[in-house]
């Protein structure tokens, strides 16, 4: 862990019993609310405990209104927690916001470049706010514009960039002061599939450099493909936290193992369902479907059952459980 004055290296992130209640007057807002006089209370976070390791690629997964953006807001010093605490590295977001800001890079949900400046100036002034010396900043800007594939747009006005290019400019800007932790709030919303894949490549590369990356998303696939660990949150609460693979193994029904047999599968179901680790088995003509906690391990047993019933296995198909099925079972609703 780094000292208060140094910002090299990497840092973890921790929240403890983090709670955020928004108080608004009058206007109806979404979310759970209790009436206290004229003011409405909206509980955005209800005691969130998270520990994100230094160098980790961490995902916050949840539907709109789950509290993802509030969490990012608190961790980036823009939202004050109602109670509880949060730290980035060893800096507290409330008592040492300036120290936190030096450690973090932030890519907002909607690109907010400085439209009065050119693309390159956006990077150079951002670096200047952080006290990065001019020569270093210019070299870094050159490199990042290359990396984000907008090197030819350096002197363009920001408004001339496409949505995907603006999003990449936001990432380049967030990296200009070499932050230890990079926060991205729904970075791929509004991007076309090609731009999204390109962004994934960039994010993986940034993580490979040893940076802590914290990303919110409501795309299952994105969390699955990019993140080392994923926190599923809904209504301000942490519902599950693990690697995508572990989370998926917690999905109800586990992995789906399909065996294509050379005859009716029905005689095999009873024996298959009795196998250890098999949660459920069903037959559909020549197809035996078994849901197994740990997909691959059930295969030998299933084959034995089939053979004992006089069936030969022609083909096997594995369908890993998805975060989507887990999410539905945890929250009772779908993402989006």
């Amino acid at each position: 862990m780094t000292s208060g004055s140094s910002v090299s290296g990497t840092a973890g992130v921790r929240t403890t019993a983090l709670r955020k209640v928004y108080r608004t007057r009058g206007a109806l807002r979404r979310g759970r609310s209790g009436n206290t006089g004229n003011a409405r209370e909206i509980v955005a976070l209800e005691g969130l405990d998270l520990e994100i390791r230094a160098g980790e690629f961490f995902g916050l997964l949840g539907p709109n209104g789950a509290g993802k953006t509030t969490t990012i807001g608190i961790l980036t010093t823009r939202v004050f927690p109602t109670s509880g605490s949060a730290t980035v590295g060893n800096a507290d977001v409330v008592s040492a916001p300036v120290d936190v800001r030096r450690r973090i890079g932030v890519v907002p949900q909607r690109p907010n470049p400085d439209r009065a400046l050119t693309v390159r100036e956006n990077l150079l002034f951002h670096a200047a706010y952080f006290g990065v010396p001019g020569a270093t900043a210019r070299a870094r800007a050159r490199h990042l514009l290359e990396l984000m594939e907008i090197a030819d747009r350096g002197d363009a006005k920001v408004d001339e960039l496409s949505g995907g290019q603006q999003q990449r400019l936001m990432i380049a800007r967030a990296l200009m002061h070499e932050p230890q932790v990079l926060f991205l709030d729904e970075p791929t919303v509004g991007l076309d599939p090609h731009a999204r894949l390109a962004l994934w490549t960039v994010l993986r590369a940034l993580h490979d450099e040893g940076r802590t990356v914290v990303m919110t998303t409501h795309y299952m696939e994105e969390a699955d493909r990019l993140c080392e660990r994923v926190a599923i949150i809904d209504r301000g609460r942490l519902l599950a936290l693990d690697t995508p693979a572990q989370l998926k193994s917690q999905a109800p029904g586990g992995t789906l193992v399909e065996l294509m047999l050379d005859g009716e599968a029905a005689p095999v179901t009873a024996a298959a369902a009795a196998l250890p680790g098999v949660l459920r088995a069903e037959a559909e003509r020549a197809i035996l479907r078994a849901y197994a906690a740990r997909g691959g391990e059930a295969i030998p047993g299933l084959i034995r059952c089939a053979e004992q019933a006089g069936r030969a296995v022609r083909d096997i198909h594995l369908a890993p459980p998805s975060l989507e099925t887990l999410f539905v079972s945890l929250t009772g609703r779908k993402l989006d």
């Binding site: 208060g4 004055s5 928004y22 807001g73 980036t76 010093t77 823009r78 939202v79 004050f80 300036v98 120290d99 800001r101 030096r102 973090i104 932030v106 907002p108 909607r110 907010n112 470049p113 400085d114 439209r115 009065a116 400046l117 100036e121 002034f125 951002h126 200047a128 706010y129 952080f130 006290g131 990065v132 010396p133 001019g134 020569a135 270093t136 800007r173």
Partner: protein
């Protein structure tokens, strides 16, 4: 520039300077629009009241001496106010552009202070632009005396500061769709009752109005300009003006910082 790392203690100054450099860069790029927007109206007023009406004989020639300091005051005050308030309404309202500055590693009040300082500089610039042109249009002004440069400087800076901080308040309180309203409800009455087009002592004929206008900071800017530029004509004592402007600036800074924080953080 060297590549030596910047110590954390130097960062507030470095950050402030970088924020100010950004505003100067943008202001320089938009200078023609800025000057047109902020000085055309007062200059047109000079053409009518400082040139046409005196020539027609409707207005005494001596009126130009009372008018010039007021015109300078208006240019100074409303350039300061606009250059802080207008970008801030847009930044907080829809573009969210200011977020990258709120994430700069400096205390929030430094970001707000930088905006105020940048507003002061733009106000002074507008006044310096208007002075020679107005003088040219009006012709010689006998009582104009530039013998009190320190008083001119103090009135100018404090006058700009009071309207720059007012810009901070308005820029963080007003919603984007209310900008037009700000001009008709706040700016227009301030100009008309700001003693810019007539000296404050002239209001003695309507005593209640003479005291009511004292809530308007433009009164002190106009009267201070008179005291500093045309000291032989009737005007409020300059020390009183400076005290009033200091008080107004202090109050608006405290209020503006509060509303700024309310918009910047939740």
């Amino acid at each position: 520039m060297t590549d030596a790392p910047v110590g954390p203690r130097a960062l507030p100054f470095v950050g402030f300077a970088a924020l100010l450099r950004r505003d100067v860069r943008v202001a320089r790029r938009e200078l023609p629009y800025f000057l047109t927007r902020t000085t055309l109206q007062p200059l047109l007023f000079v053409v009518v009241f400082g040139h046409l009406l005196p020539r027609m004989g409707f207005v005494n020639r001596a009126y130009t001496a009372a008018l010039l300091p007021g015109i300078l005051g208006i240019s100074l005050a409303f350039s300061s106010l606009q250059s802080v308030a207008l970008p801030m309404v847009a930044d907080f309202g829809f573009t969210k552009e200011i977020e990258d500055r709120l994430l700069a590693p400096v205390a929030d009040w430094i970001v707000a202070l930088e905006k105020v300082v940048s507003g002061i500089l733009q106000g002074v610039l507008a006044a310096l632009f208007v002075l020679p042109i107005a003088r040219l249009i009006m012709g010689p002004i006998p009582s104009l005396a530039l013998g009190h440069p320190l008083e001119v400087l103090a009135v100018t800076v404090l006058g700009a500061a009071s309207f720059s901080t007012l810009g901070l308040v308005l820029g963080t309180v007003i919603q984007g769709q209310q900008i037009g309203l700000m001009f008709s409800i706040v700016v227009a009455p301030m100009i008309m009752f700001g003693c810019a087009y007539y000296p404050w002592t002239g209001l003695a004929t309507i005593p209640w109005l003479q005291y009511a206008v004292l809530v308007n900071p433009l009164v002190y800017v106009s009267e201070g300009m008179r005291g500093a530029l045309t000291p032989t004509l009737p005007h409020m004592p300059v020390p009183a003006v400076l005290a009033a402007l200091t008080l107004v600036t202090g109050l608006l800074w405290v209020a503006g910082l509060r509303t700024f924080r309310r918009r910047a953080f939740s």
